[in-house]
């Protein structure tokens, strides 16, 4: 009887191990999101995006380094840093959507079925492609803008509903990372 009980225990353990092994396989296949599981094509796109972001950072570092040098010169020559501060104010007003802007870009017109999530997606894609300023039906999209659906199946931006049903999102500058 003793050996028989031992065999049952071995079976139980083996079954448990088998279950654990399968669980492991599945959890690794399905739920691990590490870079290891990306295809070479996806990784190449990721690398292109990272390079683009790093290039932008390098350009900005170059600019701010020059600004620091200019500010130091102005201070030592007694001119003060007013001009530099004014330039920065103008830049930040554009960056935070507080001043009207003009520039090259694209216009998107949408006709047909469209909802607030689709509009949110579109704005996200435009930002992702490098849009510096975006307006939807002449309404500027700001850093804290949100999109909601209304009871009558229309869309509201920042709580303000649009009257017409044809949507056009206008953005200043669109440059795709991939097309370069």
């Amino acid at each position: 009887m003793r050996t028989n009980r031992g065999a049952i225990w071995v079976s139980v353990i083996a079954l448990f191990l088998g279950f654990a092994a399968v669980t492991q396989v599945r959890s690794q296949d399905v739920f691990s999101r590490s870079l290891n599981l990306e295809t070479p094509a996806s990784l190449t796109t990721l690398i292109a995006n990272l390079s683009e972001t790093n290039n932008e950072l390098r350009n900005e570092i170059f600019d701010v380094r020059r600004d620091v040098a200019d500010a130091q010169d102005s201070v030592s020559s007694g001119k003060g840093t007013l001009t530099e501060a004014e330039r920065q104010v103008a830049q930040l007003r554009v960056f935070s959507a507080q001043s009207a802007v003009a520039g090259p870009g694209i216009a998107v017109r949408i006709d047909g079925a469209f909802d607030e999530r689709a509009l949110s997606d579109l704005v996200n894609e435009l930002r992702n492609a490098g849009a510096e300023a975006i307006a939807v039906n002449e309404m500027r999209v700001g850093p804290k803008s949100y999109f909601t659906g209304t009871a009558d199946h229309s869309i509201a931006v920042d709580g303000r509903r649009f009257a017409d049903r044809g949507w056009s999102a206008r953005s200043v500058r669109l440059m795709s990372f991939m097309s370069r």
Partner: protein
């Protein structure tokens, strides 16, 4: 009268009891080994140099951001010292400070909510539902949208500040925010009026898709009150190159 089984017959039955689990276990081990062998062979041949390159670029990006933050702080210091000289300069400095705050260039702290979003960790999901059990870029944009609607003053996703130019980008199953690589779990910190923020997240018309996937596929989604949340300053490039004040 019962005769005890012959010792030989007993040994045979023991072997049979062990045979089934042994075969089963062998199969499972082989299955796992094969899956892993296939994957590592693929990733070694094609992916390893690409993964190394991506990681190197991300590390470089972290260094560049630190450099930029240092330079911005240096410029700020010079201007602050210079602005103490005249009234006009002081006024301009105040405007500049306000703009930096509203643009997301200063770190913020305060009360608000933390939203946790994660892939489903349970293994009971059928293969058909895998897509619904993992986080997508649109989940993050939907959550950010809901937080702004609830009156958030500052938002960060895994310590990346959400600013006017911020986007959530998805390649394969990897997500980028502000051009930075990220993987689940995501912590979305939103500073703002707590009741209004919670009301926005609890609104049954908001985030219907995420809530349904949480209930059915076990997607990780939790909203909780939090006090003294820290949201870092935006550390990326401003990139104002094409838009001119008009």
């Amino acid at each position: 009268m019962n005769t005890p089984p012959a010792p030989q017959k007993r040994r045979l039955s023991h072997s049979l009891v062990l045979l089934v689990p042994a075969v089963l276990f062998g199969l499972l081990v082989t299955l796992q080994w094969r899956t892993q062998a296939e994957r590592s062979e693929l990733s070694v041949r094609y992916n390893a140099p690409l993964i190394d390159a991506a990681n190197a670029l991300q590390n470089e990006q972290n260094d560049l951001k630190a450099q930029l933050a240092q330079l911005r702080a240096r410029l700020d210091e010079i201007q602050r010292n210079a602005s103490s000289q005249s009234g006009a300069a002081k006024e301009l400095q105040t405007r500049l400070d306000q703009l930096k705050t509203s643009a997301g260039l200063t770190a913020e702290s305060g009360d608000g909510v933390i939203v946790q979003l994660d892939d489903a960790r349970s293994v009971s999901v059928s293969v058909r539902d895998v897509d619904k059990s993992i986080c997508h870029a649109t989940d993050l944009t939907d959550i950010i949208n809901t937080a702004w609607k609830g009156g958030a003053q500052a938002i960060a996703v895994n310590d990346e500040r959400v600013v006017n130019s911020s986007s959530v980008y998805c390649v394969g199953s990897t997500i980028m925010v502000n051009g930075t690589l990220m993987s689940p779990p995501f912590n979305i910190a939103a500073i703002g009026p707590q009741n209004s923020l919670l009301g926005s997240f609890d609104d049954p018309n908001q985030l219907q898709d995420i809530k349904q996937r949480r209930d059915v596929q076990g997607l990780g989604f939790r909203v909780s009150r939090a006090s003294a949340i820290h949201v870092p300053a935006y550390s990326g490039a401003l990139n104002v190159r094409f838009a001119e004040p008009h």
